[in-house]
Symmetry: C2
Subunit: 368 residues, 2 copies
DNA sequence: CTGTTAGCGCCTTCAG
DNA sequence: CTGAAGGCGCTAACAG
């Protein structure tokens, strides 16, 4: 049985009237219970109970406070795909951890339509943003920046006014490249998409600077560094770009790579899945490295770059909420396994090699 | 370089002044651009740009509208663990999908402290809640209900005033039980925790009605149904309760089960992980069924109950946002594989068997 | 320990 | 096509 009709929502004033106090006393009862006499407090709470008042209205409160105690997260053009990516989920888990600790809500901004995404970012009732890595020209970045709220971007791009947090992808890729290309005569790279069109193709000597996604750009640059270090000619290193991060796609691209450059004997891949697909397509011996140290990598003895997306998520959240030095570069390590160590290549001290870290990258210049 | 000092935040009125129009015209410019002369609109937008105004303040807007266009999600006592559970992640993905479509924000309520959880639920600026299954006495349920906003609970409990969406766990468990116990002499059950204390133990003849978690309760009841159907004595069926959903824990419990009841020859497990742990602990032949049809189940030919948490998440979100019949019971199917079909047990038509579904369960009684 | 006043930033309503 | 008044529900700042 319902009690009242369309029943206007119950407000503090209603409760105040019923308890025969002023609205302020009701407010205090909820916000600083100490400041109210126990008896009065009880009376207020009883009145609230009777009227079905559930506490101060969150929107009104936010308006008054000028803050929402909510952190906004933008997970990329296709929010929905983000949940299929274990790395993105780990990242989100890290954010959630920090939010739960601090009592902040975690608002996932509903992106995916393209068109309206910037407006949705702008219209989100949040105090700060964490943005999953994207291209420099993503309008979502500009939208977040335009709100004058703190913005932390994971792994770049490094726009003015935003903080960037992530590992040094270039250095990590270089380390992986040195390992996987060490004895190679015909090295190749398996890459993530280079821009938002997400096309797959195979081409040699790709210039990292033409790549829109900063993560992809940096890793590519790192592989090139390694190739140069080893005296290899980058212009002859074919790069296979995979449209999506899955086995089928990677296999197709690998076949194209082998067609273009028969005799490929080393593949530096930007993901463990891609790396294993490469292995499954080869007929001859192949040195391979992956990225992320997923369970797959462990199960298949894949050399890989390990990083903690969870920690990076936590760091992003903390930075966005202004509770940590925004100068933060996360750590990574190259895990050497038999996919590069065994098989007639120079044996190696195996296992883990920790890399020293340069200090900082993030900028916090508040405004242009 | 910053332009202004502490700089009070820019408001519509400021923009109005700068553009020499009334605040209402600025409001219209953002909310009903059509209604404003193109020239005026441009002037307003230019003024906004110049002042760094990023559009209407979300909190003020919500206060005025009386709605937030945000859906609240409560993922359980330990928000952080939720991201380690692939099923919970799939559920969240389904919610996110619906939210993204409709342009609703998805607010993850920061639970985990116990103490403050109900307050955090109450104080969330959302229009409706989706709550991941919990116990009937979870204060979070009461808190959500007290706000008079729509509440959808996944898989129960079925509190007055809330809608419940999920599969018929009891029927599914019965089907699985009939399959796995078919030829059994010494059946056993591997269960999730029975209450929020989450203790592990082994005991026979557990009464499902004493179990606090509705999912666990229903599955247990279904296994009991199957046992009774098969003429087995439930009071002699040992139930091993695992504190957590992981291999190590399940193995320990399995060892205890074998100690208490040597010769166990069939195990109905509430999760694929538990099921595989059971297999890894047995020495003799063992029929086993799992739950969720994870990749693990597929790779190991495990008979299992398949369901789509993603679809259930989407259904919960749609129901919470009032855009679907709140009468919804999702489908499941028993997938028979060699973990129950091979090995000297009666062979069977293998593969998939679709089950007919009863219609509804959710109630929408708004209030007691 | 409690009350008064004022206003957070916006948009609905109703006039021009 | 534009504007004036009023109030959404709450709390800071200051009395008393």
């Amino acid at each position: 049985m319902q009690s009242r009709q369309p029943s206007r929502r119950v407000t503090m004033t209603d409760v105040a009237r019923a308890a025969d106090v002023s609205p302020m006393t009701v407010s205090y009862t909820y916000n600083r219970p100490q400041r109210v006499a126990a008896e009065t407090r009880d009376r207020v709470l009883r009145a609230a109970q009777a009227l079905g008042y559930a506490g101060p209205d969150p929107s009104a409160r936010s308006l008054r406070y000028g803050a929402t105690r909510t952190l906004g997260v933008v997970l990329g053009e296709h929010l929905t795909y983000a949940f299929d990516d274990p790395q993105a989920v780990a990242f989100l888990a890290g954010i959630a951890e920090v939010c739960a600790e601090r009592g902040y809500g975690l608002l996932i901004v509903p992106t995916g339509t393209g068109e309206e995404d910037p407006d949705r970012v702008t219209a989100a009732a949040v105090d700060a943003y964490v943005i999953w890595t994207t291209t420099a020209d993503d309008p979502v970045l500009a939208a977040a920046g335009s709100t004058h709220r703190p913005v932390v971007v994971h792994s770049g791009p490094d726009r003015a006014g935003t903080t960037v947090i992530g590992i040094d992808n270039r250095a990590a890729a270089r380390a992986a490249g040195l390992e996987v290309f060490a004895t190679a005569r015909r090295p190749a790279v398996l890459s993530f998409p280079v821009d938002r069109r997400r096309e797959s193709f195979v081409r040699s000597g790709v210039d990292p600077d033409t790549v829109a996604y900063p993560v992809t750009r940096d890793r590519l640059a790192g592989y090139r560094d390694a190739a140069l270090d080893l005296g290899l000619d980058w212009s002859e290193v074919p790069v296979g770009v995979c449209r999506t991060n899955d086995v089928a796609e990677a296999r197709t691209v690998m076949r194209e790579l082998f067609a273009v450059a028969p005799g490929i004997d080393a593949v530096a891949a930007m993901g463990d899945t891609l790396a294993l697909a490469a292995l499954s397509e080869t007929t001859g011996p192949l040195r391979v490295s992956g990225w992320d140290d997923s369970e797959l990598a462990r199960d298949n003895n894949l050399t890989t770059v390990a990083q903690s997306l969870r920690e990076q998520g936590a760091a992003c959240a903390a930075a966005a909420l202004g509770e940590s030095a925004p100068d933060h570069r996360d750590s990574w390590r190259l895990i050497r396994r038999s996919s590069t160590v065994g098989a007639g290549t120079r044996p190696a001290p195996a296992v883990v090699q920790r890399m020293a870290l340069p200090p900082v990258t993030g900028t916090t210049a508040p405004e242009m």
